[in-house]
């Protein structure tokens, strides 16, 4: 468990700007793959000196990869679900931020700022320990497994960041569009849904995908609260293999590689979309 702690780079999102700063560090896919390969090789060398009775690191990975990959799929599922929940809630919160009602706008501003500026891990802890393990609704007891709670924990910062993206995108549309809609007798709600949001989708897409890549990487935080996602399973596999030090780098390198291969294309695509929308 302690090893997982070193992975707690808390993801912090920058505020939305029409042309958001890229926040991911660019490592080419090739150098990264080489890095992982080297880690595995180095460990293999260490194993070669250890003795022939034990499995090589590569064999260990192959042996456990179905389990580890299942864990990874779980990470992806959590991230997708958190993104879905967070996006729906964030859209609502973003519209509340833009509300004409001062009170509603102020309250939603507070909520947004709170969840945007809280470390994701702290939010996760709060949800894990404040939400009961089951709820009883109309006499039916619905269990709330840890992974659901973790998903909600990730959805909260997603919500706040999506809200900010929505607000920024709608604000960046010239006020003359509002006037044109107003002079054609569109209601405020119609203007928002028929005219503003459809125009915003393009500019919202890159920052939204950026948020997703961060969520995907942050799902490993769930290992700290005991969800059996990939990092938890990696630690268990390591322990099951006797906790041999030379297995450490290959096993965690495998996890790194999985996340890298998943997130890098997303970031690449985001950057492409950003460039394309900027010239328009």
């Amino acid at each position: 468990m302690k090893t997982a702690g070193s992975g707690n780079r808390l993801a912090v999102l920058l505020p939305y700007r029409p042309a958001p700063a890229r926040m991911s560090v660019r490592i080419g896919p090739l150098p990264a793959a080489i890095l992982c390969f080297c880690a595995i090789m180095a460990a293999s060398t260490a194993w070669a000196q250890a003795g022939p009775t034990m499995l090589s690191p590569l064999q260990v990975i192959v042996k456990w990869s179905p389990l580890l990959l299942r864990g990874f799929v779980f990470n992806i599922a959590i991230s997708l679900l958190a993104m879905l929940l967070g996006t729906v809630a964030g859209l609502g919160l973003g519209l509340a931020l833009l509300s004409e009602s001062r009170l509603l706008a102020a309250v939603s501003w507070l909520i947004t700022q709170f969840f945007r500026n809280a470390p994701w891990l702290v939010l996760l802890f709060f949800v894990m320990f404040l939400v009961p393990f089951q709820v009883t609704l109309f006499k039916t007891t619905i269990p709330l497994p840890d992974w659901i709670k973790a998903t909600v924990g990730f959805a909260l910062p997603v919500m706040a960041n999506v809200a900010e993206v929505v607000r920024g995108a709608v604000r960046s549309i010239p006020s003359t569009q509002w006037e044109a809609a107003e002079s054609l007798s569109f209601t405020r709600r119609q203007t928002m849904w028929l005219i503003m949001l459809p125009q915003c989708i393009k500019r919202m897409l890159p920052p939204w995908m950026n948020i997703y890549a961060l969520v995907a990487m942050s799902t490993v935080l769930a290992s700290i609260v005991g969800v059996s996602e990939m990092l938890t399973l990696t630690a268990q596999v390591h322990a099951a293999e006797g906790g041999r030090p030379e297995l450490f780098a290959p096993l965690y390198g495998f996890a790194l590689l999985c996340f890298f291969l998943y997130c890098y294309p997303i970031n690449l695509w985001t950057a492409r979309l950003e460039r394309r929308f900027r010239v328009r």
């Binding site: 003359t176 569009q177 044109a180 107003e182 002079s183 054609l184 007798s185 569109f186 028929l194």
Partner: protein, 250 residues
């Protein structure tokens, strides 16, 4: 009030309209009226409050004092149904303000469908006819970004007309256009006027005002300095400010 209005009374009646932005008084007692079928032009140097007046008539901005009535409905009434008012009043802007994510045809169809709740096939037929009328047949499926300024402005005119307004407001609709395309837009407005549409235009096109307007108002720094039929105003202006302005622009 609305019940007492009859079509022989002015469609727009402004009485002593005042409008301030903070300490800056932009409209200092404007009175004018527009009757059904009339074409009224407002001319004057920039900054004299012409756009502000137009926007007040459409309730896009509240007035500070005075009265504006559209078909007998008081615009400054706090209980005013702004949406109902704006359905009677079409507005065309200097910067066209088309919806960039919709095609020309969709731009024209949107408001009748979503605001008036009219049937799509009926609206589409009318929208196509309107685009043909403003000489844009064949451009139905083109997005605003791919149209010239003059074409965009004509789509904007068709978009307003699709709501079947009783009066059209034009705020310097040719000011952002290339000289070559100004004409095509003016021709469209002229045809509209000839069809009997009531028009209130802010314009810098003096020849257009002279040929098409029934009545011309010259404004300067928030007041109407002088007004009259174009033949009188353009040839025999009595006020020195009007004379100076006309000598600059004619």
């Amino acid at each position: 009030m609305a019940a007492t209005w009859t079509p022989d009374q002015p469609i727009v009646q402004c009485v002593d309209v005042r409008k301030s932005f903070g300490a800056l008084e932009v409209l200092k007692g404007i009175s004018l009226s527009v009757r059904k079928g009339e074409v009224i032009c407002i001319i004057g140097p920039s900054g004299s409050g012409k756009s502000t007046l137009i926007r007040c008539i459409n309730a896009l901005q509240p007035i500070s004092s005075g009265s504006i009535q559209i078909e007998g409905i008081e615009v400054s009434d706090p209980r005013l149904d702004k949406l109902a008012l704006r359905r009677k009043v079409g507005m065309v802007f200097q910067q066209y303000n088309l919806f960039p994510h919709k095609t020309a045809l969709q731009n024209v169809m949107m408001a009748p469908i979503h605001v008036l709740g009219q049937k799509r096939p009926e609206v589409e037929a009318r929208a196509r006819a309107l685009l043909a009328k403003v000489r844009l047949a064949g451009k139905e499926d083109t997005y605003p970004g791919e149209l010239s300024g003059g074409q965009q402005q004509r789509v904007a005119i068709a978009r307003s007309l699709a709501m079947r307004p009783d009066i059209m407001l034009f705020d310097e609709v040719t000011a952002a256009l290339d000289p070559e395309t100004v004409k095509e837009v003016l021709v469209t407005i002229r045809e509209l006027a000839e069809d009997g549409m009531t028009c209130l235009l802010v314009t810098h096109e003096m020849n257009f005002a002279r040929e098409v307007a029934d009545h011309v108002y010259f404004t300067d720094r928030g007041v109407i300095v002088e007004h009259g039929p174009p033949e009188t105003l353009f040839t025999a202006a009595t006020d020195e400010r009007t004379q100076r302005f006309l000598s600059q622009v004619l």
